[in-house]
């Protein structure tokens, strides 16, 4: 048996031998744990009781122990030895990820991937800071967020919100006025049948969750807009990835202020998200909760993210 405690727990041969030390006949017990083949066996021969006579030890090792141990170790190690993989195991990113996931406009996955025997551990260089992803599932989520950031930055570059922000103050004022003068109708309009708006208003007052938007933001439709944009981008609106949180927040605030819907905003750029090439773009809870989008055990969006063919066969 190999390296490791399990082997030691189950020392498989204990040999009692008789040897001569200083001309006197003595009995010894020899145990051996094969490590990796014959060479390993030489270093793990133990004897009980410990010989105090160095000369005697040499006598015995030469005359008895080594031949016995070698033969037993060889036979037994062949019979029960397991060659365990020793974590961390190093893999190549291009062997475990589809090509599209290795590099993007704003990220690059490190070539070396560490594996603990079950889960892959990735490192990414990004335009923001280095990232780690503990599992392929988390990497998928991070890459989708990074891809979303590319789109969001493109929207920013193309001044999608410039015009809307000019009229933004008026838009916000109208929204608040309507909320005050026609609270029920306005609320109904904003909820659009999801029932989440009221819930979020309540949560906004009592929640300690840092990702819970405050009541004013919720009342102004920021909460809904953020989720709508997140849905269009295919990311979790409550992600903890800071660049995505910040950019998504900016866009949602600008969209609410300017009265821009995600569709209109995205139409300004030539991207699959904007042109409706993303699958299932008319399904799902743009304004509702996300529990059924979460992948069990990961708390992440439960949806194939890459590659574009809609399968995750390329991921391991």
């Amino acid at each position: 048996m190999p390296r490791g405690a399990e082997a030691k727990k189950s020392i498989f041969f204990v040999k009692k031998i008789t040897g001569f030390v200083g001309g006197q006949k003595k009995r010894f017990m020899v145990t051996a744990v094969p490590i990796r083949g014959i060479c390993g066996s030489l270093s793990i021969i133990r004897k009980y009781p410990i010989l105090k006579n160095k000369k005697g030890l040499e006598d015995i090792m030469v005359s008895r122990i080594i031949p016995i141990a070698l033969s037993l170790v060889f036979v037994c190690s062949q019979a029960i030895a397991d060659d365990y993989a020793s974590p961390p195991i190093f893999l190549k990113a291009d062997q475990v990820l589809p090509a599209g996931a290795l590099k993007g406009e704003n990220f690059s996955v490190d070539h070396e991937v560490r594996n603990d025997g079950l889960i892959n551990f990735y490192m990414l260089g990004t335009n923001y800071r280095r990232l780690s992803a503990e599992s392929t599932a988390e990497l998928e989520v991070r890459i989708e967020e990074l891809n979303a950031l590319t789109i969001m930055e493109e929207m920013d570059r193309k001044n999608v919100f410039k015009e809307s922000l000019v009229t933004g103050v008026k838009g916000v004022g109208e929204g608040v006025k309507n909320l005050v003068t026609m609270p029920i109708d306005t609320t109904k309009e904003m909820v659009k049948g999801t029932g989440q708006f009221i819930s979020n208003i309540g949560q906004a007052f009592v929640s300690d969750d840092p990702s819970q938007d405050n009541a004013l933001k919720v009342a102004l439709g920021y909460d809904v807009a953020k989720r709508q944009f997140a849905y269009e981008f295919g990311i979790n609106p409550y992600t903890d990835y800071e660049p995505a949180v910040a950019r998504l927040g900016e866009i949602a605030r600008a969209a609410v202020a300017g009265g821009l819907t995600p569709k209109v905003a995205l139409a300004a750029i030539d991207h699959p998200v904007a042109t409706g090439r993303r699958s299932g773009n008319d399904q799902g809870p743009r304004t509702g909760g996300l529990p059924h989008l979460r992948r069990p055990g990961h708390g992440k969006i439960d949806r194939p993210l890459l590659p574009a063919n809609g399968t995750d066969d390329g991921w391991v």
């Binding site: 365990y84 993989a85 603990d116 025997g117 079950l118 069990p296 194939p304 391991v316």
Partner: protein
């Protein structure tokens, strides 16, 4: 994954715990372990776990068939070990069991 298996592969009879490992019992008496893992290697911890599961299953004489479904991949050596113990391995199960 269990839900996906139950919906898309075959209805599960029960969710059981065997030597600390959750698994599905199928209608025909089989056992299915579902694991969301990336790349399985035959590491010592896994070998011990599998050994414990094997011992527990051996006490139950009604077990007919053992399957391991993983979202990722299984190293060839690990696959050999599992198959040697009578396990059927299903890799890249995520596309079949998740997102349904």
């Amino acid at each position: 994954m269990m839900g996906g298996y139950n919906r898309t592969i075959q209805p599960a009879k029960a969710i059981l715990e065997t030597a600390g490992v959750l698994n599905l019992q199928t209608g025909d008496g089989g056992r299915v372990i579902l694991a969301q893992v990336d790349y399985v290697f035959w590491i010592e911890k896994l070998a011990v776990k599998v050994s414990n599961v094997e011992k527990a299953l051996a006490l139950e004489q009604s077990v007919k068939g053992k399957e391991l479904w993983v979202t990722g991949r299984v190293d060839s050596e690990a696959k050999t070990k599992f198959e040697g113990l009578g396990w059927k391995i299903v890799e890249n199960a995520g596309s079949r069991l998740l997102d349904k």
